[in-house]
Amino acid sequence: MDKKRRDFLKIAGLSAIAGVAAPTALNTLFKGEVIASDHGGGHGAEPQGQGHAKIEVPTGKRFGMVIDVNKFHRYEGLAEKCTNACHSIHNVPKFTDPKVELKWIWKEPYEHAFTEHSHYKKNDELHNMPFMVMCNHCDAAPCVRVCPTQATFKNKDGMVLMDFHRCIGCRFCMAACPYGSRSFNWSDPRGKDKDGKPLIAKENTKFPTRTRGVVEKCNFCAERIAVGQEPACVEACGATKAMIFGDLNDAHSEISQVLKKQYTIQRKPALGTKPSVFYII
């Protein structure tokens, strides 16, 4: 073997080792952990790693919601009651044109709430159920990631919130949200409709109204949680317990107990947004 060739092989070998080791080293460096390796035994049949995402390690609070669709189905009018409670408390204006309407929580049929699920041969009842949809307060929220001004941000309790005074109205967050949870004020929400009726029927002076040109969405009732109240929609459900709100990171919270016992699903889990809203069907 001539010298050149031997040198080449040596370099190639070294680079190969570096290539194998580097990702692990980098992972350790950046994340302080080693993933998808070290299963101990060398049994051929055992998988080398797990394909699914890492288990989320709880840090601090992370508020979430469980929505029991059966109960919404059973108690007629409950869906509308929730929407009204939320929209009136938060001064959400009532535009009738669906193109420019604003909504924080509303009902959708199964096939529109769970678009990526198969709708083939599902029972009739499922198709008649009202699925309440709202902001999922995603743990890895694309809307937060794209906002150029941090007008959309995640607070320490895992709520995705908005600063209406900072928002420039670029609507990048609306393109980014995979759930259509965001609404834009296409015109003055404090104005009147065609018949001269105010768009905000009765203003709640404890919550700010918005100006035109900014985005808004469900805020998990951060202003109510701060003073020890329940979210307005949860309150509207009352004793039905159709909606349960609480800290997902607290193993003793009611929501954690429910999630431990019941089979629930999240919307579009494949997108990696880690929604904090769960559905019991």
Partner: protein, 386 residues
């Protein structure tokens, strides 16, 4: 040097007046939009970006396309492009100016635009886009004016401008890559969620930018004594041809991945754009027409007799430009919003006022371009033809 823009034929002044007229109408419409809010446009909660952002996206491409003449001239010392390089740089200035105007027109709270700088957010691609676009504008203003100024004075340009010229080349690539990143990093928007979006953007940019440039050069050849030269013209045709082929090849790849994989998310928007989805097919005629125009353009660019003749070449270039404009300036942005995240279909039709504002921004761009070209060409002709 500026005084060159103030002397011109009656044709020149008529053109300027037409542009100013369109700008006036657009300004009037913008005041209305400003007072009412963006509901003045045809946009909706489902199609939340419309003509403004799609024009912006297309024009970033035109701006970046100028690099196809700048690069050979500076890197390969390709002197034949000497006369057209300045046109490429000035086209970039006008295009980026239009981009910035379109962004401003699209903001719900334009007075707060500076929040992007006051609260710099490194994880937002829009923040980076703003940085690279303004940087590119500055680079082209510096290089373009320094070179022209020197020519005007009959000296050679100062050496310090060279690094800026070199820097403008990777910078041109960056503006269109970052613009693609606005779209291709969004989970749940399947039509945009493709790693080939940036290459697609670049290919269409490298075809559309030089096509517009060459078309303008052909007009200048007829209306003034300014001729970029046969060799430069042929070289540009070659560049445009390759970029156009790449563009259509990339488009074909999207079709393959969508339809062969049979993934609904990947097919929906293509269905909507080219065949119609659930009976909604507003954009179908446009998209098919775009393919037709693209085919005509390729025929012209590949037939020696047709591409050698200035008239047929001009037709081919216009076809190509409009094919790419429809593809990127309409279909790409508008189509990406259909169906919406809940799989409803909402169609978008721009309002009249919105179209006037859009036209006015184009008119402003062309006004900037006209003035810059007028100065550049007067200087060049004066120095070269005593």
């Amino acid at each position: 040097m500026i005084e060159k823009a103030l002397k011109g034929s009656s044709l020149y002044w008529t053109w300027i007046c037409v542009l100013l007229g369109i700008m006036g109408i657009g300004a009037f419409c913008y005041v209305q939009q400003y007072n009412y809010g963006l509901g003045y446009t045809g946009m909706s909660r489902d199609v939340s970006w419309g003509l403004y952002i799609s024009q912006f996206t297309f024009l970033v491409g035109v701006a970046a396309g100028g690099v196809m003449v700048v690069l050979p001239y500076y890197i390969h010392d390709y002197k034949t492009f000497g006369r057209i390089t300045i046109l490429g740089e000035f086209l970039a200035i006008a295009s980026v100016a239009m981009c910035l105007m379109f962004i401003m027109a699209d903001l719900g709270q334009p007075l707060r635009a500076l929040n992007v700088l006051l609260h710099p957010t490194l994880n937002s691609m829009l923040f980076w886009d703003m940085i690279v676009l303004n940087g590119y504008l500055a680079l082209n203003i510096i290089v373009g004016t320094v070179v022209l100024q020197a020519e005007y004075k009959g000296t050679s340009p100062p050496a310090w401008y060279k690094p800026f010229a070199y820097l403008s080349i990777p910078w041109a690539i960056s503006i269109h890559t970052v613009t693609a990143f606005l779209y291709c990093g969004l989970p749940g928007r399947h039509f945009w969620l493709t790693a080939i979006l940036a290459p697609r953007f670049l290919a269409s940019a490298f075809a559309a930018g030089p096509a517009l440039l060459l078309f303008i050069a052909l007009i200048l050849k007829r209306t003034t004594k300014f001729d970029i030269g046969k060799e430069a013209q042929n070289k540009l045709v070659t560049i445009i041809t390759y970029a156009a082929i790449l563009n259509f090849f990339f488009l074909g790849l999207e079709f393959f991945v969508g339809y062969y994989s049979n993934l609904p998310g990947h097919m929906h928007t293509l269905d909507y754009l080219f065949w119609g989805l659930h009976g909604y097919d507003q954009l179908v005629p446009f998209m098919r027409f775009s393919l037709f125009l693209g085919a005509v353009a390729l025929v012209v660019l590949f037939t020696p007799q047709l591409k050698k003749n200035d008239k047929t070449l001009g037709v081919g270039l216009v076809c190509l430009f409009f094919a790419l404009w429809i593809d990127k300036g309409l279909g790409l942005v508008l189509g990406g919003f259909v169906p919406n995240p809940l799989e409803y279909v909402t169609e978008y039709t721009p309002s009249l006022g919105e179209m006037c504002i859009t036209l006015a921004v184009w008119a402003t761009g062309f006004l900037i371009l006209t003035l810059l070209y007028k100065i550049a060409i007067s200087v060049k002709l004066e120095k070269e033809l005593p």
